[in-house]
Subunit: 206 residues, 4 copies
């Protein structure tokens, strides 16, 4: 079942990997099923570098785990971040996808944001992302992390936030939109890094 959606998840996984948003050992992506019975999410430990549609599980809203093709109950373990993924969808019926990546410039800047926000310096990030909070660092897979992620997205208009030392989490109406928020943020953080750097070292005169 859900063949189209599963293929779209795989496409966004490969795109995320090819663009350098994750290493081969990182990241997870989920999407709400069109019938709104639950979400599709990957098996724990699967690499974006080699993932196929067979590595995707269906998890219903009660936490039941099924093979996403045959819909038979499965004993395979969903991604360790299932908790924060599944807690975000109830916030808004419009949320169709959650994309969590480890984009390096965004993650690096998150370690130094005493103000609790990523500085938005590039024009398109300011226009499209409004405000990007930094979520405090809790252990990967913990309930504390899931609560902190959930509480961050309760605020209206938050589309992407960054877990400190860990990486961005974005919501979107669909997979491409959630991915685009992360890609836009990472571009902004790359610009911010080199903007600060060229301010430090000076570029006005040669």
């Amino acid at each position: 079942m859900y063949e189209e959606l599963r293929n779209e998840i795989i496409r966004i996984c490969r795109l995320s990997y090819d663009r350098g948003h994750v290493s081969a050992a990182q990241g997870n992506i989920s999407a709400r099923t069109p019938d709104d019975r639950g979400i599709i999410i990957k098996v724990s430990g699967t690499s974006f570098a080699t993932i196929t549609a067979d590595d995707l599980l269906f998890v219903d809203w009660e936490g039941g785990v099924f093979d996403s093709d045959s819909m038979a109950p499965s004993t395979r373990q969903p991604s360790m971040e299932l908790r924060f993924h599944s807690w975000l969808y109830p916030l808004d019926d419009e949320i169709g996808a959650v994309v969590h990546l480890h984009s390096p410039y965004s993650t690096a800047i998150s370690t130094n944001c005493s103000s609790g926000e990523i500085p938005l310096i590039a024009s398109e990030a300011r226009t499209l992302l409004h405000r990007v909070p930094v979520i405090p660092m809790y252990p990967a897979g913990s309930q504390l992390l899931a609560e902190a992620v959930h509480d961050t997205f309760v605020e209206d208009g938050i589309m992407v936030a960054v877990i400190c030392e860990h990486g961005p989490v974005a919501i979107g109406r669909n997979l491409q939109e959630a991915y685009n928020h992360v890609d836009n943020l990472e571009h902004n953080c790359m610009v911010a890094t080199y903007s600060r750097l060229t301010r430090l070292v000076g570029t006005a005169s040669i």
Copy 2:
């Protein structure tokens, strides 16, 4: 109509995205039609990551908007930067294309150019680009921005300029030429960034 030109726009969009000149949420490119009746430009909000020839509109010199294939009037919204695109073509009959990207090193350096120009340090940029002004930052899509972009290109010999905190705008006889100016500038800005950095930290002795 304009099938060849529309395919060329798509090719340059994908190239821009693959080379990292834009994130999946950014950028716009236009081209003058061979019959000089107007320009082809993308629908507002379309991502370079997924754009197809169906996402391109024809806009005539009076601002009429048409489907670029059927040429039927269209209610779809052209790119929010249509204004500065369409104002550049009348400056010179030779201008066949306008490429606006968010190239990160160029954008970063633009935030620190008190002299109002991007420093040209790399040989090929000095040879081919002569002078690259920084355009003051006005809101994306605003008339003020369109006026500032227009006024910058009135000066003879300007082929590319950078909107502060936003990114490069280039003109060219065709799409590849305009793209090449941006690519050359971005290479220069990457060299300038690391040149200043290695000057700061020292490389002469190990």
Copy 3:
């Protein structure tokens, strides 16, 4: 013989090159044969940019060198780092592959680690890699280097280490797993570099 394993080595070589873990003149990768008679490793001097399955030799545990397809004795020279590759497999029957790359951020950080360890700042690296020692720099191909690499991996739980000024060495149950350790480490070192940099130049306020 060993066609599947040889193809997998070629796949990981190309992946390593495409992801920027090596230049066209660098790196070597080996894998234990399924029959545990020895390892497959590349011919000395072959570039990852152009390597094919014909460039792979079989070396048995006694050091005999054979063509890995025909299994005829070969006079071709195995990689100059054969010594440290072949010394790692006897440490644990579970080691199926050794991946040695020159990942630039990891190599750069290794030159400044007075504490003898790579700082693990990114969440997934801390979770999956535990501890990443820096191995002192000895001449490429030397017995001293092979001994230092061997002695580092004697410690339980070490999956990847970095030879100072030279690059990472990882072990894994298979090629993809060993590669993933290097990819995860390189991502961490990229984050660590830009984390320190943005701390230096400041990002909290614009």
Copy 4:
């Protein structure tokens, strides 16, 4: 004529572009013909992003210019750096190719090398490249530049050098070998840049 060699030049041009050694407006590559009658070099102004085998000229040792397919005399202009390319081949019969790229990290470091040499910090660069001089900056295409390049390669064992503010020039027995020298050097310069940077900002403790 020379179909195989021309295809190999195109392959190395695309590789150079795809790996970021040049922007779409930069670089030139030449190769000695197998019959040693002269060299193949590209038409002036052709971009590596779009070059095809039709954009290659044959230039004999007396400077005669011919279409490299039909061998008919040609009025097209060879690359402006023809002079330094053609002056390098007579230095040694073993030189089969000259690769000149604008690799950004190498070019950046070249601007700060008061000692006249690129620091070789990465293991494989030290092993394979021995010594990499910095050539003083003269105008692109000038006789002074051609003389400076020539004089640099008179020294035995020099395989690659960097024109200040301009980029690397490498010689090799064939195109892949010359390219590999540039790729190895650029890797070294990337490592050197981040090595200095992490020394400045500190990485030993978190």
